[in-house]
Amino acid sequence: MQAAYRLDTTFAALAHPTRRAILARLASGEASVTELAAPFAMSQPAISKHLKVLERAGLVSRGRDAQRRPRRLEVKPLAEATQWLERYRRFWARRFQRLDALLDELQTRTTKPGDRR
């Protein structure tokens, strides 16, 4: 239940391009709010709002330095969400592998391979 709830929050947090960009930036190391805001055409309060969503989802935490208050990436919830996506992806990947085999069969039946365009 707890895990399911957290997953909802994770997916919701990941649903915004700016938040994904913030996470991508944090993946290369911790950064202050000012540093995070720099590449975006966005005010610091706007960035802070996105950070708050990410913090609530447990995707971002605050570092020790009381002055800079650097944010850093928390990988666990992200890994969980990725795992769900990966399971779902594998399900479809298997279907599409069967489709590959079927398409191969249909092509050898109707045309000779390699003579298209």
Partner: protein
């Protein structure tokens, strides 16, 4: 021969799942594999052990389709169907989808787009759900047991209803 194609799957925005996959075949064939029942039945299956005894397709705008999967050993069935909203042969299909036993709220709209280049076809399938909750429920099901997800729900329901035991 051919390199193994990878399936790109993302969950962009709030309500969508998007899949992209390249097939080593002209798009007319890929289109046929999605619209001719005798072909659909060969690949649109669930986990091992499930077959697809019912596959009915009325391929016209406003026409319906219906799929039923069956667990061959247990005999449990799971049905799904919807209506075609757009058909552009052999490049685009938009249809609704709804499972008989709803394991996600509401209806989804599926958009299939096929683009052919040099005899290869890029398939993009976008599943758009009615809400973020529905989309996430689908992702969380993993579809690993896509077809059994509704039974899991039923089991949960039975377990939380004190007067009844599990069948």
């Amino acid at each position: 021969m051919k390199r193994a194609a990878t399936l790109q799957l993302t969950a962009p925005g709030e309500r969508e799942i998007v899949m992209t996959r390249v097939f080593d075949a002209p798009r007319q064939l890929v289109f046929d594999a999605h619209t001719k029942p005798e072909l659909v039945k060969r690949w649109l299956l669930g986990p091992p052990g499930w077959s697809m005894p019912v596959c009915e397709i009325d391929l016209r705008v406003g026409g319906k389709y219906r799929y039923v999967w069956r667990h061959d050993r247990e005999g449990t069935e799971m049905g799904m169907g919807g209506v075609y909203r757009e058909i552009v042969t052999p490049e685009r299909i938009v249809n609704t989808e709804r499972f008989d036993e709803a394991w996600y709220p509401g209806e989804a709209v599926d958009t299939l787009v096929l683009v052919e280049r040099g005899g290869r076809t890029t398939l993009t399938l976008t599943l758009r759900y009615e809400s973020r909750e529905a989309r996430d429920a689908v992702l969380k099901s993993g579809m690993e047991s896509g077809v059994t997800a509704s039974y899991d729900r039923l089991a949960d329901l039975l377990a939380s209803t004190p007067a009844r035991g599990r069948a």
